[in-house]
Subunit: 317 residues, 2 copies
Amino acid sequence: MNPEEEKRATPCSSPVFVHNPHLDVMKDDVLYHFGLGTATHNLPAMFGDVKFVCVGGSPWRMKSFTEYIAAEIRMEDPESEYPNICAGTDRYAMYKVGPVLSVSHGMGIPSIAIMLHELIKLLHHAHCEDVTIVRIGTSGGIGLEPGTVVVTKKSMDATFLPKFEQVILGKTVERNTDLDQCLAEELLQCSKELNQFETVIGNTMCTLDFYEGQARLDGAFCSYTEKDKQDYLKKASEAGICNIEMESSVFAAMCKLSGLRAAVVCVTLLDRLKGDQMNSSHEVLQSYQLRPQILVGNYIKKLLKAKAGRSCNSATV
Amino acid sequence: MNPEEEKRATPCSSPVFVHNPHLDVMKDDVLYHFGLGTATHNLPAMFGDVKFVCVGGSPWRMKSFTEYIAAEIRMEDPESEYPNICAGTDRYAMYKVGPVLSVSHGMGIPSIAIMLHELIKLLHHAHCEDVTIVRIGTSGGIGLEPGTVVVTKKSMDATFLPKFEQVILGKTVERNTDLDQCLAEELLQCSKELNQFETVIGNTMCTLDFYEGQARLDGAFCSYTEKDKQDYLKKASEAGICNIEMESSVFAAMCKLSGLRAAVVCVTLLDRLKGDQMNSSHEVLQSYQLRPQILVGNYIKKLLKAKAGRSCNSATV
């Protein structure tokens, strides 16, 4: 472990911030879309030990990630299934194994934003500290071999600017979409050590739409030509954009505001310069989708091992 | 049945339009987020008889709607469950009973937009005609008794304008959010006949965010006061806005473009002038959520009965 990793792995008591004075005077807080609340659940007891949160669009993928990470960090219980903590609702699914929380967020900025508001409040109510959060997702690549994993440097909007526009009381406020560059580098390093698939660091474009919003030619509506599409993607590429997805900007903005150490790790399912349709076989697409899980799972294992090693060393001093 | 209903119930062979010349030259079309495709599924055989599509955020709600409508139109098969047609993916759930298709769309504009692109292509590939589509959802009310059902007149954005902004190749295009006013009136009339709960026609505000975007005071972040919130909601009310949700604008815009006869029917779960938290009991909230289902179910039953009556009369002439 290098000194930067050592530093990162050392507890430094950084809490999860909310920025809302109204919460202080609320008698209790219903996290409606999780089916949880401060009056009905002992959030510090349930979540106080969380150090890693992994989020992704699909509930199945987040369940499979939990099973994977349980085996990796040897905390699996062969007798038990991992119950969905949000079983009272079908808006999101949530699983926990040891210090790792896994939450689904659906598709698109609004869907992940609702989840993050409630997740940030949950981590705050549970008095969690030093939390790392990673979005593990899928994306369309620009000029990359399908299956390449992209760790996001900057999340950019559809005009290639690194910002997220939040509408508040009908007025647009710009928010910064910086992600943790050390964490991105550590993930890249981890992938090099794993040596199982290609991983790059690059900018990610975050759009509000999958079809017209990403210059696809295969939606129900399309008013532009193949050349228009290629010109647009070429400009994106010139802005350092390696892949396109639909959640990273608000994820980066909200994590930054709440002091969460955050990264976005997405696999590319296709090269958008060569096509728009996802017509690789189900098996190939499934295997690609495992890559962010494998990378982040390995990273978490490495950090937990380092931490255990330090505790052990301290005990023998 | 009044003459307007008679006219509406009469087949007039209105197809479902796509506006995309590129689709004509595609060998096949993968509807990725449904796990369906023209090469792998016989879409005309599976969906050619669809006349009503009901969409809503939650997969559970859309399954329960299918069971409800099956009993209402007496097409239920007590021996069989209704299988999820999109079982190969967990992005959306889809159920069908007779001419009624029921599809979940997740939360927010991007999530419903992906679904609608693929649904419109599905209906087009299946050669469906004369399709009516209704979003049955939940919302926050402004100055209405919780449990009131709102049939949307116009869908408005966060600045109270009746438009939807679609980003195409990085440029913003404005789209019209008109809904079918005759359909809205017919639904209101149907609710009067049912006489089970209050229903109104009013404008609906569609936002990109549930917390700051809807002036809530209970998100992880909030930079405004209770008075700012009340002033904003008062202005919304003055623009004729009765309720707030997160999908109606793109739904209205896309249905209009594709020639689908469309309505938005949402129940209000709380009065936003009095609070932000959803702290009614689970049972009360559940019973409210049934109301759009009951109204739309009844409307479909009425139309199918009228159609059957006409066929019967024709046969005896």
